[in-house]
Amino acid sequence: MGEIITVGNKGKNIRSDCFVTFELKDKGGPDIRLESKVAVMYGNAIMAQAKELMEFFGIQDASLKIEDSGALPWVLSARIEAAISKAVSPDKEFNPVMLKENEYTTFKDRNRFSRLYLPGNTPGLMINAGIHKPDGIILDLEDAVAPDKKDEARFLVRNALRALDFYGSERMVRINQGDRGIKDLDYLIPHNVNLILLSKCEKPEQIHDVNQRIGQLKKKYKIHNPVWLMPIIESALGVINAYAVATAAENVVAIAIGLEDYTADLGTKRTTEGTESFFARSMVVNAARAAGIQPIDSVFSDVADSEGLKQTVLRSRALGFDGMGCIHPRQIRIIHENFAPSAEETEKAKKIVSAYHAALEQGLGVVSLGTKMIDPPVVKRALNTINLAVKMGKLSENWRETYEQV
C-alpha cells in the first residue's frame, strides 16, 4: 500500500480540469473510477486514456480515481502522469503528440508588445489564450503556482507546449528561481519553448546557469531551434546591473521590469503615475537599447480599468518601452492599439516615407518635404512607424499605391 496521492483541481468553479487520486496497492489489478461531467460523450475515451497511461508506466495494482470537470485529453494525461510520477518516479515520460501548428520558431526582434501571463497549473485559462492574439503567452511556473502544485504544473505546461495550439503567439514559460528553475527546463526545452523568462535577475551568472542547462538539453535532444531569454529585473541591484544582465548572453532578446517586487525592494509603494519607478524603468530602457535588445514594461494589474491601462501604455511607450505584460486577455487590444502608432503619427510618417521613396526614385541623396530637409534618423523613425502601422493592421501594406504625394 502506498500513500494516497492527489493531483489537479476540483470544485464548483473549476472547469476544463480534473482531480486525480492515486494509490499503489499490493494486489487487485488496476481499479479505475471516473466521475465526469462529460461522461456521456467522453466516458469511454477517458477510461481508455487512463488505462493506456497505467500500462505505459507499468502500473499493475493501483486505484485511480478521476473527478473530471471537462478536461481536454492533454490535461487528463498530465494529471494522471503527475500522480503516477509522484508514486513511482518513472524514468520515462508520456508525451502527447506535438501539434504541427506548434513547430514554429521566433525571431530575436519580433514584436513583443503584449505578453499574457497565465498560471501554469490552470488549464482552463490556457485553452483559448491564443485566440486573443497576444504576441506572447507565458505559462508561469513561478509565482502563479502554489508551492505544493509546482511539480504537477511541470507536466501540465509540458503537455500544453505540445498539444495546445498557441495560434502563433510566442511560446514563453517563466521558470522558478534557483535549482527548481534549472530542473523546470527539462520539461520545456525538448518541447519547442520559444522563450524563457527568468524572474528576479540581478547578475549575469543567473543567465549563464540557465544557458548551461539549455545547452546540455539542446545537445541531448538534438535541438536547433533558438531558445530566447527574457530576464526580469525586480530589485534595486537588478536595476543597477541592468546592462550587465542585458548583455550576459547572445540569446537575451529583451529585459523586462517587474514593478511589484521592485517597489517592495525600494520600500515604497507602486502608484499609477509611477514616479517611484521612473529611474528603474529608464535604466531598463537604456540598458536594453545599449545592448540592442527590447525593453519591456511591467504589468498593469487593475483589469477593470481600461483607461488607466491606456494611459500607462502611452507613458510606457513615451519612455521608450517596446511592450508590456498583461494578466487578462482584455488588456491585449488596449496594449496593441496604444503601442501602435496613432493616426496622426502614421499620417506624418506617410508623408516622410513617400518623400523618401520619391528621393530614391529620382536618385537624390537628400530627402525633402516641401522646402524642408529631412534628417536620416527622422526618415528611419518614419519607416519604423510605417512598418509598425502595417504590422498592427492600422495601415494597408499597399498604402503607397493610393497615396497622393503632397
Partner: protein
Amino acid sequence: MSKYDKLVTNAAGRVVPTIINNQSALPYMGIGKYRPTGRKAAPLIASSADYPADGNKVVASLREALIKCGLKNGMTVSTHHHFRNGDLVANQIFDVAHEMGIKDLMWFPSASFPCHEPLTKYLEDGTIDHIEGSMNGALGRFASLGKMKGLGVLRSHGGRYQSVQDGEVHIDIAVIAAPTADPFGNANGVNGPAACGLLGFALADSQYADKVIVVTDNLVPFPCIPWQIHGNYVDCVVVMDKIGIPEKIVSGTTEITKSPDRLLLAEWTAQFCDEAGIIRDGFSFQAGAGGTALSIGIYFSEILRERGWKARFARGGSNKYLVQMLEEGLTDYILDGQTFDLAGVRSMRENPRHVNTSPFTSYNYHGKGNFASMVDVVILGATEVDVNFNANVVTHSDGYLLHGIGGWQNCLFSKCTILPVPLFRDRMPVILDEVTTLCGPGELIDVIVTERGIAINPARIDLIDKMKHSRLPVKTIQQLKMEAEKICGKPDKPKLGDEIVAVVKWVDGTIIDSVRRVIS
C-alpha cells in the same frame, strides 16, 4: 390512454408523434408550409350583469378565487414568467390545488424557472399531469427521465399565442401575477414593489381563458393606469403580501460579460454586422439577454456613435445598456417584450419611446405579419448547432431538457440570424454532425460565430460575397466542426431511450422534433 401515438417522420426527417396527450397534432411540414383555415378559437361569452356593478372583484384569497373559478381535475392553469426566478405565485396555485385534492392539472406557463422546483412533488403525486412550456433545471430533469405523467410540449412565445388561438390549448384558469392592479382587474407591470416592466406574456391568457384571476401586492383604486391587462377580461382580484422577490425578478444574465472569450465573440459579431453592411443608419436589431448578447449592444453603440448613426428600433429584452442607447439617442425606439432590470422598468414607465409589446405583435403565426421578421439582425444563443446550421436550444448534448424556447424560434425570421457560440464548452463540442433536438431549421440560421472562426450559411451567397476580403476568420461549418473534434475528440452520442418525453413545436403549431428519455 397514452402520452403519445402514431409516429411519423416529418419534413425535417425527425420522428414525431401525431397524437399527443390524446389530442391530434400535425408533423412539421417545412417553413411557412402549414396554413390552417377556418376561424380562431373564441372565448366564452360573459355578461357584465354577472359582475359587481361597483367594479369590485376582490376576493379574500387565492384559494377562494380558485374555488370561485371552479378549479377541478384535469383543468389547464396558466401563468406568465415576467417575474422570472422571483415568482412567488405559481407554486401557491398548486399548493392550493394539492390541498383541495385536485388531480391531473396541466400547467401552462410562458416559462418555468429554478424557483419552480417545488412543483416536482406535485408532478410526482399527480396534482400536475404535465407541463406545456419550458422545463428547466429540476423540472427538466424530471421530464427527461420519463417521470412526467403526460407528454411535455415545448413552444415558442409566439407558438404559445398561436396554440391558444388555434384552440389547441384551452386555458381554464389564468392566474396573472400583476405588480399593480385595481379592484376591477386592470393591471400593469411598471409600478409596485414587484415591478417587472410589462405583462405581455399574459395577454393571450387574459383574452382567451375561461376564468382570469389577477393577483397583486399593490392594489390601487380604479383606474390602474396604464392598463396593459384589461379588467374587462378579469373574474377576480386577489391581494397578497408579496407576489415576487424584486431582486430575482430583475436579475440574471443582465451584466455584460467579463469573459474574454465571450467578449471576443461579441466583438466579432459586431464587426461582422458592420462589414456585411447590416449596421447602417436606421437599422434594427434584437439581442438576447445573455452576457455575450449584451456586449454586442455595446459594440453596436460604439459603431453608431462613431458614425453619427442611430438605430430605428431595438427589440428588447431591455436592460440598462439598451436604455442607455435610447437615452443617448442611438436608437429611436425600444420595442420591448420583457424587461430584465430596474433601468428597463423605469424607462418603460417614463419614456414613451420605450414601448411594451406582446407575443401577439412580435411573434404570432396567426397575426397578419409580425415584428420579428422586420428586424435587420438578431443575435441569439444555442446549446448545439449542426453542420446543416440546424440549432438546438432546449436540450444539452447529454439529452437533458434545460431551456425553454422563449422567443428564439420566432426571432429566426429576422433578415439575418447570428448565433455566437463557443466552439466547445469545457470538452463539449457545440458544432456537431446532428443536433440532439431540432428547434430551429438551418435554412433560417445565417451565421455561426465562434472564437475560432465564423461560418456563413452557404445559402447566404450575399453575405459570403460581402465577407470575401474580411480580416475576420471566415471558415466553413465543416472546418469548425473538425477543429472542435481535433481539440475535444470525437464525442459519443448520448444514449437515449426510444420513449418520447416531450415534443418541440414549430412556430405554426406543427411538431418539429421529439425529446427522448435520458437513460440514467
